[in-house]
């Protein structure tokens, strides 16, 4: 391996790409599309977040200005939480359009997060959404294929390869030089663009300088750089293995279709048929069955609640519910809430487990398809991934539980058992409750969720280099 030759060939490749018109024309198209995607993405996210924030304010105002009410009525009045998009979601939409945007939190019931963008779409969404991530993940590889398919195969066709090999350069030097040249071109064309878009977008969307978001942006730039390197290695390898440029192009287009259309779709449908997840009715039925087995607060003869009654009476040393210093009705309600929330969380975790098992197929197939690797990590870093949404669901359920518990506490201590429903408590009680604030996953957690794909991306680089070494050692590929 001679660094000098690699350098010379790399520079030569760089020059030859910039000399011809087609790469520049293609680049112009991609540049336009990605600027359009970035701008519309940014506009959409900021408008969407404004809308959600306005709705959040409205609900909060209603909450703060509500009159004196009975605490259990307030528990049913409930609260609406609106999901806001992460600052980096303008770059990679990820799952955002397919998950719900608002959830109604009330006593006794865990509602689904509703009103997803996909639910209001007539199906055009299913063709894929135009985001900058889509351009970089799907179209830039095609660009690399178009500028690189003839890089070695072309040299074979016009006999230049033989001349090069007769000089001091080894075949590996040539392959590495080509890789360096094409990679540097794609880096120069796309990474600065990516960096500038991310910085402007993030700073304007998160209103200021946020080190966590900047770190995520830096990682995104780094990983996309790595991804372009992987694709270039692949293109150079296929080009080196093909007898002529045409075969190389056909093979690469086929690989592109496999990597970007066939494998991702098959992987996910396969995952969902192997690991069955319950649908909503089955899920709710299972929870209901388990809850009624544990204790039924409506049934006066239920053993669980009879026990609670006996224990409470004993604790306060009285012999009737009316004589208790606290409101027994609230106690029963909170006990029901404890039971149903615990059982719901258990089933919910199982459901998420089933989904994760389904998604693991795509995760592990990252080792056969670099697109899956970058798709997964990119979503993780942009905060538009499965785990972020799961976290949102868990935090809203926790908030719902805490809020209801707090209201039951007020009910317990400030409402007397006799003539329960005719009483009200001061609205100040409700105003003191904390507002919901979503805490996004830390960067460390995001990376941990994307670990398999992250490893896969690094393995791809190593495998690409190894295959170039292998190809360069075969005489058949030099002819």
């Amino acid at each position: 391996m001679h660094l000098k030759f690699i350098q010379i060939i790399g520079r030569q490749e760089w020059n030859s790409i910039f000399r011809s018109k087609i790469p520049l024309a293609l680049y112009a198209v991609l540049l336009t599309v990605s600027l359009l995607a970035t701008f519309t993405g940014w506009q959409y996210v900021s408008k969407f977040n404004q809308q959600q924030a306005a709705a959040r304010e409205e609900v909060h105002d209603h909450w703060m200005t509500q009159p004196n009410r009975h605490p259990h009525r307030v528990a049913h009045y409930g609260y609406l939480v609106f999901r806001e998009k992460s600052p980096l979601s303008f770059f990679d939409f990820g799952l955002d359009s397919y998950v719900g945007n608002s959830v109604f939190l009330e006593a006794h019931r865990q509602n689904t997060v509703n009103m997803s963008e996909a639910g209001f779409s007539n199906g055009m969404l299913r063709f894929g959404e135009l985001s900058m991530a889509l351009v970089l993940q799907v179209l830039v590889p095609l660009f690399i294929i178009f500028i690189g398919f003839h890089t070695v195969a072309g040299l074979k066709q016009n006999g230049v390869l033989k001349i090069l090999l007769c000089q001091k350069a080894s075949y590996l030097d040539i392959l590495l030089g080509k890789t360096v040249g094409i990679t540097l071109v794609t880096w120069a064309l796309f990474l600065p663009l990516l960096m500038v878009s991310l910085l402007t977008g993030v700073i304007s969307l998160s209103a200021g300088f946020n080190s966590e978001q900047l770190m995520r942006s830096a990682l995104i730039v780094l990983l996309y750089g790595l991804y372009f390197l992987v694709i270039t290695l692949l293109v150079v390898a296929v080009s080196a293995m093909s007898a002529n440029a045409r075969n190389s192009l056909m093979a690469l287009v086929l690989v592109w279709i496999l990597f970007f259309v066939v494998v991702p779709k098959s992987a996910q449908t396969l995952g969902s048929s192997i690991f069955a997840a319950p649908d909503k009715i089955a899920f709710e039925q299972a929870i209901e069955a388990e809850v009624s087995k544990e204790g039924d607060s409506h049934n006066p003869n239920d053993p669980h609640f009879s026990e609670l009654k006996a224990a409470t009476l004993k604790k306060y040393g009285v012999d009737s519910l009316q004589a208790l210093p606290v409101n027994y009705g609230a106690l029963v309600m909170q006990e029901g809430e404890n039971i149903s929330s615990r059982i719901f969380n258990k089933h919910f975790d199982q459901l998420i487990g089933a989904y994760k098992a389904q998604n693991s197929i795509s995760n592990y197939l990252s080792f056969t398809d670099p697109f899956l690797a970058i798709r997964n990590v990119s979503m993780n870093l942009a905060g538009t991934d499965f785990d972020t949404f799961t976290e949102f669901q868990k935090q809203t359920e926790k908030y719902r539980f805490e809020k209801t518990k707090n209201l039951n506490e007020i009910h317990l201590t400030q409402i007397s058992y006799k003539d329960d429903s005719k009483q009200k408590v001061s609205a100040r009680n409700f105003q003191q409750q904390a507002e919901f604030k979503f805490k996004p996953l830390t960067i460390k957690a995001s990376l941990a969720h994307g670990a398999v794909s992250l490893v896969a991306l690094f393995i791809w680089v190593l495998a690409g280099l190894a295959s170039l070494t292998f190809i360069s050692s075969k005489r058949a590929y030099q002819l």
Partner: protein, 463 residues
Amino acid sequence: MKISQKILYLETKNFLLGKTVLIVAISLVLFGIYGFYHGSKIIDRQQKTIQSVAQVQKNHLDSIVAHGTGKPAGTTAYYPFFYTFHPATPWAKFSIGQRDVNPFTLKVKMLAIEGQLYDSELTNPLTLLVGNLDASFVFIFLFPLLIIAFTYNAISEEQENGVWKIVRTTTESITSAIVNKLVVRLAIILVTSLLIFMAGVLYLQLPFSYPTLQLGLVLLIYILFWFTISVFVISLGKSSSFNATTLVSIWIFLCILYPGIANVAVNSRVPVPEASETTIKQREGYHAKWDLPKKPTMEKFYAVYPQYRKYPIPDDKYSPGWYYAMQFSGDLESAHSSEKLFEKLFQRQKLSENIAAFNPVISAQQLLNKIANTDLTSHIRYLQSTKAHHKQIREYFYPFIFEESPTESIDWAGYPEYQPAGYSQDNLTGAQITMLIWTAVGLGISILLFKRNFIHIKDVQNA
């Protein structure tokens, strides 16, 4: 055998012996089979769930009534859910459409409806994002690739290895040579697609009826469209590499870029802030009533249901009649934004149909979803049928609630049966004709280009 027939036969044989043809055709058949399997699996599961609804409903009502014994109907009426479902048409297995995104069962209480209509189904969002590999995907996305693979080098390959010059000098008519090549390929494409389509009809047990015929017709037009695109690129008379690159780029443009941009356009032209507005309004509309005098609420209710005016509503304490009147006025107050939401969704549908007029790929997908009743419009029909059922149920139970009949004295399962939205045969002709026009335009231009680039060509040195 006449010479022309013999040439046609040889051309067919020559084409079929190519390795690519076999590989591409076999992989497409395999994908087709997988698509049928996947489509029927998803829909069968949904249908199974739908079939379980009746039993779930019965058990649910039984336990509610058991708990409610001794209490007035107005108290018990708070608890029961009433299920509705959106049965799949036979063609949904072919084109799953939006059926995996939108809920296919809903349960509603007698309370205000607006907050209950938009509950989502439990689904893995990544699966939704990646989409289904159903028969419609195979035809819409993968079939064009088969057409491209079969045709991109129809003439250019022979030009590149020198055979074309011999053809040109020996054949009587260059036109018929070109036509032969294209006809053979078109015939084989049509035979492959017919085989896969028929296999699909049998596997998915589609009825031999008008919608199935329509399904076949849309696919036929779609295939002709892509064949014309291919013929157009060939008629430019460039190299195989150029043809392949151009065709794949066109495919990417029509299947990925154009829909992506169109989607952004639709979302920003017709945003739906009404979605959250409806929920907020309904919740406030109902809850504020608790703290207001009862009379205005009751008057709103009596305006629609005057027959309940005769039941006294005590002014100083809770009564079930008042409770359900509050729920009702919650709906009245959000009715405006709810209507607006539906209207916006129809606007979105209309706009994207207009956009699809310029892209037969989107158009074909929309047509398949329409035939299968798996599009947004069909889902809205389902929501409307749920609303209608909610109304039926309320009206069935109102008399018992106002009468304060005891729970055990009434027939809880006696409410009018849910009427699912039936199959809707939408108008498909407009979109089909637009697709045909594009095909015809493509063919016309190609013929002109063929004349210029292949037939009227003077022999140039080193051509």
